[in-house]
């Protein structure tokens, strides 16, 4: 279980679970029409339906491959490799969707997500992700 830290620890840490609550911070909560809201241009990037990502040729081929390799004799068990796979689908999906339509703000927010996700989810993958965000900055 992840408990969102009540206090920010120094040095940009303390973001455990931030990725998981970002969409609540950005998309839920009280809105008062008398107040201006900071521009969240590009925030649509958060709302890509996961099912859109599933329905792609890449995914089909990957599923076929996975089934091919699946050992039916072994019962369902936890696959340590899974979080990586899920992460990849998510990212390539988001990247594909965001191409062209992105403004600077969108980059900011998706980077924020990416960063938060890195820290909140998988420590060892940091190096690889950094490459991905660099590529993104070229836009």
């Amino acid at each position: 279980m992840t408990v969102v830290p009540a206090q920010q620890s120094g040095g940009g840490g303390g973001s455990s679970g931030l990725y998981d609550v970002l969409e609540l911070v950005l998309d839920r909560g009280l809105v008062i029409d008398a107040f201006v809201r900071v521009s969240l241009v590009g925030i649509e990037i958060l709302k890509i339906d996961v099912r859109v990502v599933v329905a792609s040729v890449d995914t089909y081929l990957r599923f076929a491959e996975a089934c091919n390799r699946l050992d039916l004799e072994a019962g369902p068990r936890k696959s340590p490799g899974l979080p990586d796979i899920v992460g990849e689908i998510t990212e390539s999906g988001a990247r594909g969707k965001s191409k062209g339509a992105l403004s600077g703000a969108a980059d900011t927010i998706s980077d924020a997500f990416k960063q938060a996700r890195e820290e909140g989810e998988a420590e060892p993958r940091r190096a690889r992700k950094t490459t991905a965000s660099r590529r993104k900055e070229e836009e």
């Binding site: 830290p5 609550v21 911070v25 491959e65 696959s79 899920v86």
Partner: protein, 254 residues
């Protein structure tokens, strides 16, 4: 100087956050504006505020801190008033509504549950439940993997079955946890999870809710659940009363 608003609480809130860092770089100091029975948690609004990670985090941290001490209505990120007077003006004008919401949410917190699938477990289930997919897989395997078209077709079938299971399991999450909560609401859809549901839970029964989460985990090995909470009740604040009508337009000037 415009004013950034984090949330609204009762002025009797025992531990309103002050002197902690808020949004901006350097972090603007959090202050409290009181008006009647209400208090707004605010700070100066930095110029050119954008939804950067540190600012989102600061927003969330201030509200976590406030929420830990008592009921708070969290604002959505990025709410900026022209000045302090505009904030207290809104508090005065809509006091009844905010007091009612604070009362309704008193002692309650939000737990957000995000569910993902353990792919291997899901594929096992898909294979076990569909003789067609099983046969197709076997045929491909014997043909050394199958042609590109065969693989594509198999993959498409599997993807459809996986999607069905996702919908099924998303319903399971809500159905099985709802009885342990006071309210439930579906969160924004996005990549990376098959279900995203927020539950309003009484602090006193949080243990029971978390136990229910454990039960879902045990009963559905293909489901991986991420629990975030206790959170300020972002998903349960409801919009203000009669939004477009009176108050809205009149105050829109800023």
């Amino acid at each position: 100087m415009s004013t950034y608003v984090y949330g609204i609480a009762a002025s009797s809130h025992p531990a309103l956050p002050e002197d902690m860092g808020g949004v901006g770089d350097p972090a603007r100091q959090v202050r409290v504006l009181k008006e009647g029975g209400l208090a707004a948690i605010v700070s100066d609004a930095p110029e050119g505020l954008r939804p950067k990670r540190n600012d989102l985090l600061a927003h969330q941290n201030v509200l976590s801190e406030a929420g830990a001490g008592g009921a708070v209505l969290p604002m959505r990120f990025g709410s900026v008033a022209p000045d302090d007077e505009a904030v207290t003006g809104v508090l005065a004008e809509r006091a009844d509504h905010y007091l009612e919401r604070l009362k309704a949410l008193d002692g309650r917190v939000e737990y957000n549950i995000k569910a993902t699938h353990n792919e291997e477990a899901v594929l096992h289930r898909v294979m076990a439940e569909s003789p067609e997919i099983r046969a197709f897989t076997e045929a491909n395997r014997q043909a050394g993997g199958g042609t590109y078209e065969d693989r594509l077709r198999l993959g498409e079938m599997v993807a459809a079955a996986v999607q069905n299971l996702e919908a099924e399991d998303a319903a399971v999450v809500r159905r099985e946890l709802e009885p342990a909560a006071e309210a439930a609401t579906v969160g924004p859809e996005s990549t990376g999870w098959i279900a995203n549901v927020s539950f309003l839970v009484d602090r006193g029964t949080a243990e029971a809710f978390l136990a229910a989460v454990e039960e879902v985990r045990t009963g559905h090995p293909e489901l991986e659940l991420r629990v975030n909470g206790p959170l300020p009740p972002y998903s349960f604040v409801e919009p203000g009363p009669s939004e477009p009508a009176e108050t809205g337009q009149r105050l829109e000037a800023g």
